[in-house]
Structures are given as C-alpha cells and as structure tokens.
C-alpha cells in the first residue's frame, strides 16, 4: 500500500477506449487499471489480462460440500446413531441426494462469493480511491502510474492524443484502506501540494 502518482484519462465511449488501450500498450506503457461502469466485454483481453480461475475454486468448494454431506450423514446413520426410518437401510444413499445436492450448491456459492470478495479486496468498510466520480456512471477511466520509466509530461501528452475526454494527474493510494469515505479534503490537499 503506497500513495503513488497516476496519469488518468477518462473516455466517454468504448469505441474510443479500445483503440486507446491498444495504443497505450503498443507504446510500452503499463496500464495500472481501467475502471468501467459496467462489464465491457473484451476489455480484459485487450488489456492482456488472463482469464479468471474463480469457477475452478467454485468447483472445489462444491466438492467439499458434497463430501461434507455424504461423510457427515453416513457417519451419523451408520455409526454414531443408526436408526431405521421407514424401512430404509442405514446407508440410504438415495434419500441423502437432496441434502447432498443442497450442501454442494451452498458450499460452492458461499465459497465462491467469499473468494470473489477476497480476490477483489472488497468488503463492507473498505475504501478505495475513485479516480473519477463518473467512472461508475458513464466514463471509462484509465490510470497509468507515473514513475521514472513513464515521465509525467510524456504520458499526459500521449493520453490526450488517444482521444480522452478528460485527463488529470492524481496522487492516490493504490490499495485500500479502512476509514471514512470523505477523504476528499485530504486528497485535495495532496493533489494541490
């Protein structure tokens, strides 16, 4: 977690954004991230991001649910407290299908959602820097870190040429923090100084 300097470009159309992403990457700039108001299909590929393995995690959680249900019920009904219900055998597997299925789904869904929150680093009370208040509304916002390899003047001029509607230089915390949302004043002071 560190406060860094970012060159920020806001685009108002996906069709300007995609060529811009391509140009930025072609020119060797490293994109910190792109913030969009909705899921823009193909943007991850255009940025060179790998696919997510979240669904594999989901599958593993599901298997945990299946084995928990089968293991727990069969232990109870064959060893811990065997009772004959309705003439069924102690190991009445078909009768356990419903609960086994439900626990599979439950484990997979809860596990995946928690993993999703962990990977994205989101949870109630977490705050992150918002580069543009309209990045959740109608702007597609690209941030590039400014450092020794990417000098400010050069990257800003470049971003303006890619068709950005607005550009700015911002000091921002790259990670997340706990606290109040209105760190606005602090940021304004930071950006002014």
């Amino acid at each position: 977690m560190a406060i860094k300097k970012f060159a920020v470009a806001a685009y108002d159309d996906e069709e300007v954004l995609f060529p811009a992403v391509k140009k930025v990457r072609k020119n060797g700039y490293k994109i910190h991230d792109i913030y969009t108001p909705f899921a823009v299909h193909g943007l991850d590929e255009a940025m060179g991001l790998k696919g997510t393995d979240l669904h594999i995690a989901g599958f593993i959680y599901g298997l945990c649910g299946t084995s928990t249900a089968v293991g727990f019920i069969s232990w109870i009904f064959t060893s811990d407290w065997p009772i004959i219900y309705g003439g069924k055998p102690h190991f009445a597997l078909p009768a356990w299908i419903p609960i086994t299925f439900e626990l599979t789904v439950l484990f997979a869904a809860v596990g995946m959602t928690l993993t999703f929150c962990y990977l994205n680093q989101i949870m109630p009370g977490v705050k992150k820097h918002v580069f543009h208040p309209r990045q959740s509304d109608d702007l597609f916002v690209m941030a590039i870190e400014i450092n020794n390899h990417t000098p400010e003047n050069e990257v800003m001029a470049f971003l303006k040429a890619t068709g950005a509607k607005e550009t700015s230089v911002q000091m921002a915390e790259e990670g997340w923090w706990y606290g109040r949302w209105d760190k606005k004043e602090a940021y304004e002071a930071l950006n002014a100084g």
């Binding site: 996906e14 069709e15 995609f18 060529p19 991230d33 792109i34 913030y35 969009t36 108001p37 909705f38 899921a39 823009v40 299909h41 193909g42 991850d44 991001l49 997510t52 979240l54 669904h55 989901g58 109870i76 009904f77 811990d80 407290w81 009772i83 219900y85 309705g86 009445a92 009768a95 356990w96 419903p98 609960i99 299925f101 439900e102 789904v105 439950l106 869904a109 809860v110 995946m112 959602t113 999703f116 929150c117 990977l119 994205n120 989101i122 949870m123 009370g125 977490v126 705050k127 992150k128 918002v130 208040p133 990045q135 959740s136 509304d137 109608d138 997340w176 109040r180 949302w181 209105d182």
Partner: protein, 490 residues
C-alpha cells in the same frame, strides 16, 4: 458507429433516447429524492399489516396452535398452504435471474433486480410458516444437526421435511448472494453520485469499496455465470423437495410421481404473476416504463401462458391417472375434490389457473397493462387455491369415515397470512426506495445493442449487403478488436 448489431424483429429493451448517464439518472434519482405520498401510504399500510401479523402469531404462540382451525384430520391448513404459495412465488425471481441468464435472454436485465428481490422477500415469508407450525417455536433449532445433550440425537436425514430445511435455507442464501453481488456495482454508482455525507457513507459501506476495475468485472461475470448455473438446478430442487413433502406420503391425492414437475411449473406460474403485479405498479410509480416496457410484460405473460398450460395438463393427468390406476382411494379423493364440500376451491383453482391464462393467446391482451395486472392477481388467487386443494381436500376425508372433518381458518391463521403480506410489502417498499430497482450496470451493458435510439441508428444497415457492411466497418475502425465483437470476420 457501434458494431453490435441486433435484428429489428426484436423490439428494443430500452425505450427512448438514452445515454449511459441518462440511465443512471432515471434509475438512481428516485433514490435520491424524497419518496412520494403513495410510497408513504403503502409503507404505513404494510407496517400495519405486519403489526397485525405479529399480533396474530404472538397469540398463536402464547395460547398454542389450538387457536388455529387445524385438527387431527386436517393437520396442514392455511399455514402450509401459505408456505407452499410463498415459496412458489419466489421461483420466478430465480428463473429470471438464473435460467434466463443461461439462455442469454436480454430482456431479463430490465426485470431481474426487482424479481430477485421479490424472491428473497417471498422466501422470508414462506419460512415463517413451517417455523411457527412447530408450535413450540423456541425448540425450532432442533431441525438443525447440532450436537446436543440428548445423545447426540440427530434429525432424520431421510425425511423430506428435513430436506426442506436444507433446500430453503440454501435457496435463501444463494439467492441473497446472487442478488447482492449484482447490487454492489450499482451501490458504488450511488456512492459516487452521492451529495450528502450520510448517503456517501451508507452506500460506501453497502458497495464494499467497489471501483469497477477490469479484473473485478471479469471475476464478477464468472461469479454470476456460475451462480446462475448453480441456481438453476437449485430452484428446480427446491420446489421438487417441497412436492416431496406430499408425494412421498401414502395419502391419496398426494402420492403421485407427477408432483415435482407439476409443482415447479406451478411455482413459476405464480411467481411470474407476482412479478407482474409488482412491476406494473413499480414502473408506474417510479416512471420506469422505458426500462420495464410492455415488451417485458408480454414476455412474462407468455411464460404465464406456457406454465399455466403445463399446470392445466397436470391437473387433467391427475384425474386421468386416478381413473386409470383403478385405485378406489385415489378415485374417491378426486371425486370429492370436484364435488365434495370443498368443490368451490377446486373450481376456483380450475378457473383461475387453467381457463383464464388461455386468454393470453391474444396478443392484444398480453400487451394490455391493466389486463396484465388483473390477470396477475387472478393467477395468484388460483395458485393459492391449488395449494389449498392439494392440502385440505386430500386430507379432510381420510381412511376412517368417522374422522372425516371440515376445516375453516380462525382469525390468527388469517392474521398470520396477512402479516406475511405486511412483511413482504414492507421489504419491497424499502427496496423500492433505497435500492436501484433496475440493474443499472446490466442495462448499460445491453444499451448499445438493444436501446431504442441505438437500434434506430442501425436502420441503414438493414438495406446493406453483408459485403457493404463489412467494408464500412473496416474503414471506420483500425481496431480489429471491435470487429471481432461484431463477428464481421466470419
């Protein structure tokens, strides 16, 4: 020029001239305004109903279930009828959010948020009935497999009633996760727009710090797709298991293999009716007619027609099988359903569920909003009677004529039912005030393909040949990525 092209035969999903910003404005601004008078009236009325329900339930818990009309012959009266009715209503939300996502039905984007909310509130209402039907409700946790000092004595995992516990709690949890994970980006939108300190803080908490990075959207889409894939069999399993409560017994009228599909179809049928009831009102009060269009209502009416017909076929199949089985118990049960002392409930069910949805074959009626509203209520009355018929008219004349009985509800039972309406609408009114009723980010996702103004701008393409289309596309863009999206290479 946008290169996602959708046929003109499909009607637009978003009417009017919309930009991304206008979509946010239309859907979020009602949250930022003070609610209108109608909202207060409705909300207070719901609270009164909820209060009356609480009183009725407290009465029944304090004095015992002897205050209800159920007796030794008819053990499941209004209570379980209402349970099955509410849980069925919930199914439409999952069908819209999950099954229609898997089938890539674009029109779900306008209605999924409200329908999923309805699912969650309906399941909350449904859950109350079996819990309070236990009588000694403070022992309700005995249904959970918890270590205890009586052995440990475990619940019966072979019993459909315990399957219900797992099915309904899983269903509630998964629906909630699916719904809320979709809400997070929209809460972030409200947070970023917020002008007051409190709103910024509240929606800041609710949005989990979402900023909409490319990677998080990628993961979100993976999550939603898998949750949809999980919810689809889940929703089918829930009503299947509810039907097992009846079908695995040996009561004539219940002991039928047709129950699982018949219950699921009936659940979807009543659920879509409830979605229509809510959305006809919501779109009117919040002025969302451009997002929840007549086309949306028509699509749902088509599903009502389909599932209503499935339910009708199931009713007739039941009658046929009763005759064909040559089982006198079955035959007697169905004879008394049709012309016993409860004949009126059977015929109310038949009229509302089998006859009236057939009117939706007429396109004019499918697209008529007031008619849709009336029909949605008729269907829900019919589906309530279906559950009443199954539960009461299968048990009131049992194997021993000496114990034949008749059942009418008492006021605490009726009050309990009204109370769940209070719970449902209290939640729904709060939802309509504080939550984005339409999924903003999903509407933006389909806007350029299915928005009215964007479709109109594509009109000129209709007259072009394929070669011309590709030519124009390639000269306007040097970016081959956009072209891949349009499939113009193929």
């Amino acid at each position: 020029m946008h290169l996602k092209y959708e046929s003109f035969i499909r009607e637009p999903l978003v009417d009017g001239d919309k930009t991304y910003h206008q979509v946010s404005e239309d859907i979020i601004s009602p949250i930022e305004r003070k609610p209108g008078r109608m909202w207060y009236v409705g909300f207070v009325f719901s609270l009164i109903l909820l209060g009356y329900g609480l009183f009725s339930v407290t009465w029944a818990v304090y004095w015992g279930l002897g205050t209800w009309g159920v007796n030794r012959t008819i053990g499941w009266g209004w209570d379980i009828t209402n349970f099955v009715w509410w849980i069925g209503i919930g199914h439409a939300g999952t069908l819209i959010s999950a099954i229609l996502l898997l089938f890539r039905q674009g029109w779900r984007t306008g209605v999924n948020r409200a329908a999923e909310a309805m699912t969650i509130f309906a399941v909350m209402c449904a859950g109350q009935f079996p819990i309070f039907h236990m009588g000694r409700v403070w022992d309700g946790f005995w249904v959970l497999p918890l270590p205890n000092t009586r052995g440990t004595l475990w619940p019966n995992f072979d019993s459909p009633l315990l399957w219900d516990v797992f099915a309904i709690s899983t269903y509630f949890t998964v629906s909630l996760l699916f719904w809320y994970s979709g809400l997070v980006p929209d809460f972030a939108l409200i947070r970023d727009r917020a002008t007051t300190k409190f709103r910024k803080m509240a929606y800041g908490l609710a949005s989990f710090g979402w900023t909409g990075t490319a990677k998080s959207w990628q993961r979100a889409e993976a999550l939603w797709l898998v949750l949809a894939g999980l919810s689809t069999p889940l929703v089918l399993s829930v009503h299947t298991i509810v039907s097992f409560d009846f079908a695995t017994s040996v009561i004539p009228g219940w002991h039928t293999t047709i129950f699982p599909p018949y219950f699921v179809a009936g659940a979807v049928f009543s659920g879509f009716a409830m979605v229509n009831t809510l959305l006809v009102l919501t779109r009117k009060i919040l002025h969302l007619e451009e997002y929840i269009t007549t086309g949306h209502l028509e699509a749902m009416n088509k599903i009502i027609l389909l599932t209503g017909s499935i339910v009708g076929v199931a009713y007739i199949t039941e009658l046929f099988i009763a005759w064909y089985s040559q089982s006198w118990g079955e035959q007697a049960a169905f004879k008394w359903r049709i012309m016993g002392p409860y004949w009126w409930s059977y015929w109310a069910m038949m009229t509302c569920n089998v006859v009236s949805p057939q009117l939706f074959w007429v396109k004019k009626l499918r697209r008529n909003v007031p008619f849709t509203f009336v029909m949605s209520i008729v269907v829900n009355i019919g589906m309530w009677f279906e559950r009443f018929v199954i539960i009461v008219t299968s048990t009131y004349r049992d194997w021993i004529p000496g114990s034949w009985s008749y059942y009418s509800p008492t006021w605490p039972e009726v009050g309990f039912y009204l109370g769940t309406f209070g719970l449902f609408f209290t939640c729904y009114f709060l939802f309509a005030k504080y939550f984005p009723v339409v999924a903003v980010h999903e509407i933006k996702f389909v806007l350029k393909t299915s928005g009215d103004n964007y479709k109109r701008s594509m009109e000129k393409l209709e007259t072009q040949s394929e070669d011309e289309f590709i030519h124009i596309a390639t000269t306007h863009h040097d970016d081959d990525h956009v072209l891949e999206g349009a499939g113009a290479h193929h």
